[in-house]
Amino acid sequence: MNGETMFDRLFGAGAHALTTEGLFLCGTARIGAQDVAVVGTRDHAAIDGTIALRIAEAVLHVVRDDAAGGKPPRPIVFIADTQGQALSRHEELLGLNGYFAHIVRCVDLARRRGHRLLTVISGEAVSGGFLAYGLMADRICALPNSQVRVMDLRAMSRVTKISLERLEELAKRSPVFAPGAENYWRMGGIHEIWSEEGDWSECMATALSHAANSDDRAAIGLERGGRLLSAPTAQIVASS
């Protein structure tokens, strides 16, 4: 699905004004009667320092503009389509982890200022690129057929020295290591997966109304049976 078609389905035709700059995109849109800001990446972007700074800056500008205009803080919709962090010596030298931490702080500022944060995964959400902003939202939704992972099973097999056949077999029973939005849903890392037939703008409105600023993912993972130890273990350490 090309960008325009996808955004028409998410916000309604004519209800979005987005500009792209390379693999970065931002702009404004409407969900129902509500104005929202949109920030994200497309075409499976590898997030490097340049894109990271654009994402952070876009979030800061939304916070700044709403405060300056005396407007109620608009929700921010993150469009996550990333193959992960850019892999390069130059990026590591400059401290790409620090650029990502800067995005995270900007997103946190927006949350503290009352902006509700919604992520829509379109395409891919992988590792560090996903951690940097998509996973920081209050509510995380995945479009059908989106790929979510840290590493594919073939690479995992090479690194862990466990045969691919065995991993594939175990992945049928456990959501814990194999790629898949469904697995992340079961573990509470993704709140909703939307269907191809669904009305996505309706889904957007509902998701936004469910966006709470507390981190409820461990409790959801427990409830859905995909992450049985996280919540109880944290509880032991938090209050023993």
């Binding site: 340049t50 700074l53 952070a56 800061l60 916070v63 700044r64 405060a67 962090q85 892999l87 390069s88 010596r89 130059h90 590591e92 030298l93 400059l94 401290g95 790409l96 982890n97 620090g98 650029y99 990502f100 931490a101 800067h102 995270v104 702080r105 900007c106 946190d108 500022l109 503290r112 590792s127 560090g128 951690l131 996973l135 920081m136 992972r149 840290v150 590493m151 995992m156 862990t160 466990i162 456990s174 814990v176 290591f177 194999a178 573990m187 509470g188 890392g189 993912r217 461990a218 992450r227 130890l229 996280s230 919540a231 273990t233 944290a234 032991i236 350490v237 938090a238 209050s239 023993s240």
Partner: protein, 298 residues
């Protein structure tokens, strides 16, 4: 044995903790006796640790109450799985009710544990949010980085979210490890066996020169202790406040400037040449000399 000679790099997580905090003061939460091991490692017939590779507890440090977590790099590279990550997050949650003077994270980790990668990724995201919550409550979180696995992957991001980052020269900090980059992009992009190069890209002196590490100390447990104590004293008087818009716009400008100034840089030498009069001597400088020269350059 002379306590002053204990290398932080060489020590286990438990040794680091026991030498770092006041003698005998550590009380562990979810200790190995509870056998809170990873069922996911067990499913893959991989070795288990009764503490899942991280020690969490309360201690006193120069008389101040602190909460501490120490990752064990010798177990699965300190990598974060479901239980391991939940212990760290639980500790940060505890800080909100117990209100210690500081939380110390002794980070020694390659990032997400592949055997339970999905759980690890979500856990690190939860840790990130918890670190920010604790700081927003006025409690500083200090990262100590000096172990053999460094602080990479999501734990490299967590490190940079902390209030202060104490590193040794041997400590390493980054996002993608050199081996990963070499595997995907080729040896000409990053030769992970060239140890001197790896240290010039990820090591403590480079990170300190860029301001990513806020203190550089000798590779000795007492040196980390002294640094942690001095930070605690400093933040007792001035608790951290969450970054506001102006501060983050400042960071934005700083990082934009860094990216422009070092637009083609691929080696720490290029950063040092920009900072130090005698850049070629940086690798051989003692930590004390390095800190003095960095102070003069500032």
């Amino acid at each position: 044995m002379n306590g002053l000679q204990i290398s932080y790099f060489e020590a286990s997580a438990r040794k680091r903790l026991s030498e770092l905090v006041d003698a005998g003061s550590l009380v562990e939460f979810c200790p190995p006796e509870m056998r809170q091991t990873s069922p996911h490692l067990a499913m893959l017939d991989a070795p288990l640790a009764f503490d899942d590779g991280v020690v969490t507890g309360r201690a006193s440090l120069s008389g101040h109450k602190v909460l501490v977590a120490a990752q064990e790099g010798r177990f699965n590279g300190g990598a974060v799985g479901e239980v391991h990550g939940a212990k760290i997050r639980g500790l940060l949650d505890r800080a909100l009710s117990e209100r210690p003077t500081a939380v110390l994270l002794l980070i020694d980790s390659g990032g997400v544990r592949l055997h339970e990668a999905n759980a690890g990724l979500i856990a690190i995201s939860e840790i990130m949010r918890a670190v920010l919550r604790v700081q927003a409550a006025g409690i500083p979180v200090f990262a100590l980085v000096g172990g053999s696995c460094g602080a990479f992957g999501g734990m490299g991001i967590v490190t940079r979210l902390c209030t202060e980052v104490v590193m040794s020269e041997q400590g390493r900090l980054g996002l993608s490890g050199p081996e990963v980059i070499e595997t995907v992009k080729g040896v000409e992009e990053f030769d992970s066996r060239d140890r001197a190069l790896v240290w010039r890209i990820t090591g403590g002196k480079l990170r300190r020169a860029l301001g990513e590490a806020t203190l550089l100390v000798d590779d000795l447990i007492p040196a980390f202790r002294t640094a942690a104590v001095s930070l605690i004293e400093r933040y007792r008087a001035h608790p951290p406040v969450p970054a506001d818009l102006d501060e983050l716009l400042g960071v934005q400008a700083e990082l934009t400037e860094r990216s422009a100034r070092f637009a083609a840089a691929r080696d720490g030498r290029e950063i040092w040449a920009n900072t130090f009069a005698e850049a070629s001597r940086v690798p051989e400088m003692t930590v004390a000399e390095f800190n003095i020269q960095l102070g003069e350059a500032a």
